[in-house]
């Protein structure tokens, strides 16, 4: 009875849930309880290739045979014996006769077998068989539980692992998302910054354009100064000469009153001439900021030709003005447009500098162009331009002149485009070429009083 209770209490001993450990506890219990000579267990684990063999031996048998040999013998015996469970057999092992009884573990021995062996011929008696089967049951239950617990543990571990993995995944995704958010924010910030830069650059560009136009004013002034100085020097020189003559005439004996009177008359005339030039100069260059207004292009053109007249005459250029009557007013910056006209006249005169065999004719023409446009052209009889050069000459700093600035046409084009107009050049039928610009009378989209940025002017103008 005690033994039975002990067997039933066995589960309290197996704490580690390790199958081998459980079986060894059972084997040890059986060995002691039944005074076995040896007790063997073979455990089959599902899915694992090798089965586990366990053996416990009595003192005397430990000296007789090594454990592996007993195991291999038992293996052979019970392999062939097709497992008649619970049927003891009498076998000869070494030089002893032993009674061996196989006890299956699990249904049909699916979990393994315990083999109990004793030299006693009477083994096993009924109680012993009972104890064996109880032990086998306990072992089976223990193994089951062990397997269950292992499976549970495995499941838990799996679950933990999966949760951990998922957590890592989520954390990684979170991190990536956060990084993406940061990146997006950076990109947005950069975009905003770039927008600002673009805006600043546009402002800088507009400012540079106006400064360039101003510079053209100044540099043209430098070029103009030579002819202006000349214009003023002529009358001044006359004044000095006439006054000197006047003094001498008055000091003569008798004084030459009529002669003196004539010199004074000439002096007054020359003085007025000089004042005239100054007035025109002041009118032309008084403005600092480009300020558009409704203006008469003919009048503006006439002022420019008047200022350039002496220089043109000195170069034996014959100027013809064909200004259309009742030319509509244009909205534009007077000073800037006069700059352009001045540039075109100067270029035309330069183009004819080497011409000897024909009159150096320069024709400045204005006319109305369609409903809303006014056109000005400067035609020369000079060396002309190739079709390839016809576009290139508007590039900044392109020049065929050895002393030219080349900046005139590029800036002139900028000015005309700022007026929403177009500046271009064509070759003449005869010698030379013609430069044209056309600007609208009423440009659209005027922002802050300044003419808007250029609009492509699609119509072509034939001579």
């Amino acid at each position: 009875m005690n033994d039975l209770l002990s067997l039933i209490a066995l589960p309290a001993f197996w704490s580690g849930n390790e199958p081998s450990q459980i079986i060894l506890i059972v084997l040890d219990a059986l060995l002691g309880m039944l005074n076995l000579d040896f007790v063997y267990a073979r455990l089959e684990s599902p899915g694992e290739a090798a089965s586990v063999e366990l053996l416990r031996m009595s003192e005397s048998w430990r000296l007789k045979l090594p454990a592996p040999e007993i195991c291999s013998v038992l293996r052979i015996w019970f392999q062939d014996e097709a497992e008649k469970p619970f049927s003891p057999v009498r076998k000869r092992l070494w030089d002893e006769d032993i009674s061996v009884i196989p006890v299956p573990l699990g249904i049909n021995g699916g979990m393994g077998t315990i083999v109990a062996a004793s030299e006693r011929a009477s083994f096993p008696e009924q109680t012993e068989s009972l104890l064996l089967s109880v032990a086998a049951n306990q072992a089976t239950v223990g193994l089951h539980e062990a397997r269950l617990l292992t499976a549970q543990k495995q499941l838990a571990m799996d679950l933990d692992r999966r949760v951990a993995e998922r957590t890592v995944e989520v954390a990684t995704t979170n991190q990536e998302l956060r990084r993406e958010i940061v990146e997006r924010a950076l990109v947005e910030a950069r975009l905003r910054h770039e927008e600002q830069e673009v805006k600043q650059k546009e402002e800088a560009l507009a400012k540079a354009r106006s400064e360039l136009a101003k510079m053209v004013q100044i540099t043209s002034l430098g070029v103009l100064t030579a002819s202006i100085a000349h214009e003023i020097n002529q009358p001044l020189s006359g004044i000095v000469t006439n006054a000197s003559t006047c003094l001498r005439m008055l000091s003569a004996d008798p004084p030459n009153i009529d002669g003196a009177r004539e010199t004074v008359r000439r002096t007054i005339r020359d003085g007025n001439r000089a004042a005239d030039v100054i007035t025109r100069l002041r009118a032309l260059y008084s403005k600092k900021e480009p300020s558009p207004e409704f203006m008469d292009l003919n009048e503006a053109a006439r002022e420019v030709t008047a200022l350039s007249m002496s220089e043109l005459q000195r170069s034996t250029v014959v100027l013809r003005e064909e200004l259309e009557d009742d030319l509509p007013s244009v909205f534009g910056d007077r000073v800037q447009l006069q700059q352009v006209i001045f540039n075109l006249l100067r270029n035309a005169a330069d183009a004819m500098r080497t011409v000897e065999d024909r009159p150096r004719e320069l024709t400045l023409r204005t006319r109305r162009d369609g409903e809303n446009r006014v056109q000005l052209s400067v035609k020369d009889a000079g060396v002309g331009i190739t079709p390839q050069a016809a576009e290139k000459i508007f590039d900044a700093f392109y020049t065929t002149k050895s002393d030219g600035m080349g900046i005139g046409l590029s800036v002139s084009r900028s000015i005309i485009e700022a007026h929403q107009g177009r500046l271009w050049a064509t070759a003449n039928d005869g010698p030379g070429c013609t430069f044209w610009f056309a600007i609208p009378c009423n440009p659209q989209a005027l922002a802050d009083g300044e003419p808007g940025l250029k609009q492509a002017d699609s119509s072509a103008d034939a001579a």
């Binding site: 006359g238 004044i239 003559t245 001498r248």
Partner: protein, 133 residues
Amino acid sequence: MAMESPNDRGGNARPLLSVVDDDESVRESLPDLLKEFGFAARAFSSAQEFLSSGCLTETSCLILDISMPGMSGPELYQELRRRGQDIPIIFITGQRDETIRTRVLKQGTAGFLLKPFSDAALLTAINMALQAT
């Protein structure tokens, strides 16, 4: 102010000064001043006009503008040298370009005046030119 007029090549009492300038006010005013100096004076509007005037041999001194349409002052000077006419020349100009002055003076002209010039400066230059011959 009376002044001694040296005899010119042609033996006249009053030397002939020819003024060549495309500027009308110069042609108007300068001869009068030269007459007040005591010279005879004639004015021409271009180098060509002077060359074809027949006054070449009579001219004691040439007062010449530098930049003129057609033949310029220096070009006329070269032309006269080519023809063997050794007339002393005083250049007058409104341009303040130093390089022209140096170049022209190198060629050995008598004088160079910047407009506007004083009557005293002009007289000095004329006297120097006439004494050189």
